[in-house]
């Protein structure tokens, strides 16, 4: 059975969309179910995605803006669900969180995505499943502003604590807004 079928069988209705590009399988799941989905993926015998490779955020602000302009220039085999949403309903959620999983036994990889709207940045933490998610979640908070519910130490990781913005968002300028760090020693 191919990986795609196995994942569909394991997750059932939780799979909102499936993409496949150059052999990389990606699934989109509802935001609220991420912990249960990852737990199932980890514990399912036919899948066994027991290794978290990485976790990060993506800001789709420019992506959607660009798509609206020229919707026809699209490669075949891309996410079709997204396109339909665009045409009809309200704009899709701005942010994405991507989880890269790996099955050590079968050497298979899987991308799991959730979409996070700008006005509700809370995501459940997965540090309960993998400790490896500790810093990646902090970095995602630092760079995009996701609030990981239940994370034990959600502080800025790369920027200093007093920094206010989220630099990897698309509306943040590359050269910054002139922030400077001042330390006072006592």
């Amino acid at each position: 059975m191919s990986l795609k079928e196995r994942v569909q069988r394991c997750l059932g209705d939780d799979v909102i969309a499936i993409t496949e590009y150059r052999g990389d399988l990606g699934i989109e799941v509802p935001k609220g179910n991420i912990v249960s989905v990852l737990t199932r993926l980890k514990e399912d015998e036919t899948l066994g995605f027991d290794f978290l490779t990485d976790l990060f955020g993506v800001d789709n602000l420019d992506y959607y803006a660009k798509k609206k302009k020229k919707p026809k220039k699209k490669a075949a085999g891309e996410e079709e669900l997204v396109e339909e949403e665009e045409d009809k309903g309200p704009p899709p959620p701005r942010f994405e969180v991507v989880y890269l999983l790996q099955a050590l036994k079968t050497n298979e990889r899987l991308q799991v995505k959730i979409r996070v709207p700008e006005d509700d940045m809370e995501v459940d933490t997965i540090t309960t499943i993998w400790k490896a998610a500790d810093w990646p979640e902090r970095e995602a908070f630092d760079m995009f502003g996701f609030k990981f519910r239940g994370h034990h130490n959600l502080r800025r990781l790369l920027m200093w604590d007093e920094f206010e913005d989220h630099p990897l968002r698309k509306d943040y300028p590359l050269e910054g807004k002139g922030e400077e760090r001042h330390l006072s020693y006592d």
Partner: protein, 171 residues
Amino acid sequence: MGFQAYQGEGWLLTKAEQLINWGRSRSPWPFPYGTACCGIELMAALASSYDMARFGAERVGFSPRQCDVLIEAGTITKKMVPVLKTIYAQMAEPKWVIAVGACACTGGVFRTYSTQQGIGSIIPVDVFVPGCPPRPEGILYALLKLLDKIQEDHPLYKKRQEVAEALEAGK
């Protein structure tokens, strides 16, 4: 007679200055502030093939109180700026700074929100070494340039001059 010293450099003063400069220029103990790629080249410059120790730049110390030349090799991010300032302030006079690499000179390719665009705007720099990263020879050349600069310094006379100027101003 006492006032004469203020007039210009006397023989004694010049000789003493020469001696001090001789000592200082042959014993520039480095503070290797290697933060990024240039730090590896700085390491190579300190190691056997290039051997910076030939010029007396030995006894690599990580205590700023004990070092003379701050060799800042690598990118300084905005998060690091206060640290660098503190380190520089902790060093004892006379102190010199060599900025190694494009990042330390101008920020280099990293023209971003988090990178300090050159350390020249934070602390006074004596020698800039371009390159990304510069070769160890470049670092050695910068050190030699710095030693030349030390040789031309006036450690005593300058102070006398300052005293004289302060006296003048006081009158």
